[in-house]
Symmetry: C2
Subunit: 193 residues, 2 copies
DNA sequence: TTAAAATCTTGAACTAGTTCATTTTTTGAT
DNA sequence: ATCAAAAAATGAACTAGTTCAAGATTTTAA
């Protein structure tokens, strides 16, 4: 699905508005393991995935990775806090496969919103959805055990579970990689009965 | 601070826009323990706190409370997922003290945004900030131990720590009330040396 | 002012999840 | 196809945080 038809799930655009949006899109290919954002830099853009797989994560002083978000086809990702405040990032955004992305710059978005307020609306709806989603995640994680968290995540995002290495899933779900391995073994045992 | 001057920290409003906004504000007083939202209902409005203290939480099937958000003076609160999708809430929003609020209805907001796109911008900026904040919270909670989580929260929101009962703080920070009691005792021990 | 209700404290027994060290399996580059 | 590197599995020892139960303190309402 093109980024324009994706936007049109929220709002409808005139020919002119479509063109205006396309001019601020910067297409780019990133290779596996490459970084799109690194801590310290200002995150000057939001990233839209055309195809491939990205994730954002941060590194504790002890060197542990904590995954914040996964992004497959048609998802947006960035260090959002850094993006909206235009202050230094604390996250990495990294390609987990060769990935085609569209970068949408902060200044360009703000300018576009002034010229075409319809985009103000689009980015409002997207931000609201993202916030609602993020609250839902917080909620899921507070109530559930490690096993329950994994099962819920797997039924909701089977494609993510299949596409990212297990240690990344574990760090997203808030458990050690070893423990997720044991959890999955236990689940498999139940299924086989 | 009035809700209008609060809005004007993000955008500036003409006289006419101010009036338009004020007409969709419904002022209301809720007594301690009273609910503004309950699971199952559609959350038809966002709630702005004039003075007092609210919180949102959900109840697990086992009857445990999990606090999602606190809201003191000048904060917004709601079951945001229910609000934006206009689907049944899963959270309670409850008054922890006698509280004056302003309710801002979903339909009224959407109408207002059509008539005055400047509010589209306001609600975009608010939603973006809320999302960034929520990501930051997720990040803080993944990396830290229970003690660290409490210390960080206390330095960032001393007024919340002073104003809500400890068992609510514990359920927000993802630990048992008993353990938070022990954590605080240990911290006090360190401070006294 | 007082009694009931709500909240907080404390300790002992427990458990879900971690850590560490080692082995096995999978992946990817040549 | 082969080999090195990355990822996953496994087991044993450990620990941060939970649960339960009982008592102490604070808050509330009449």
């Amino acid at each position: 699905m093109s980024i324009i038809s994706n936007i049109e799930r929220y709002i409808s655009l005139t020919e002119k508005e479509q063109k205006a949006f396309e001019t601020i899109c910067e297409k780019r290919v990133v290779e596996k393991h490459e970084f799109l954002v690194e801590p310290g830099q200002n995150c000057y853009c939001q990233i839209y995935v055309i195809n491939g797989a990205l994730r954002s994560y941060f590194l504790t002083p002890e060197g542990e990775e904590h995954t914040i978000q996964f992004a497959l086809e048609d998802w947006f990702i960035s260090d959002f806090n850094s993006y909206i405040t235009q202050s230094p990032a604390s996250l990495y955004v990294q390609a987990c496969e060769r990935t085609e992305v569209i970068e949408i710059g902060y200044l360009e978005v703000e300018q576009l919103c002034i010229e075409y307020p319809v985009f103000e609306r689009f980015f409002r709806l997207v931000a609201q959805k993202a916030f609602a989603f993020s609250q839902k995640r917080a909620l899921a994680n507070l109530g559930l055990s490690a096993t329950e968290r994994f099962l819920e995540f797997e039924t909701q995002y089977p494609n993510i579970v299949n596409r990212y290495p297990q240690y990344m899933l574990a760090s997203y779900l808030g458990m050690s990689a070893e423990f997720l391995s044991k959890v999955r073994k236990k689940i498999k045992g139940f299924e086989e009965r």
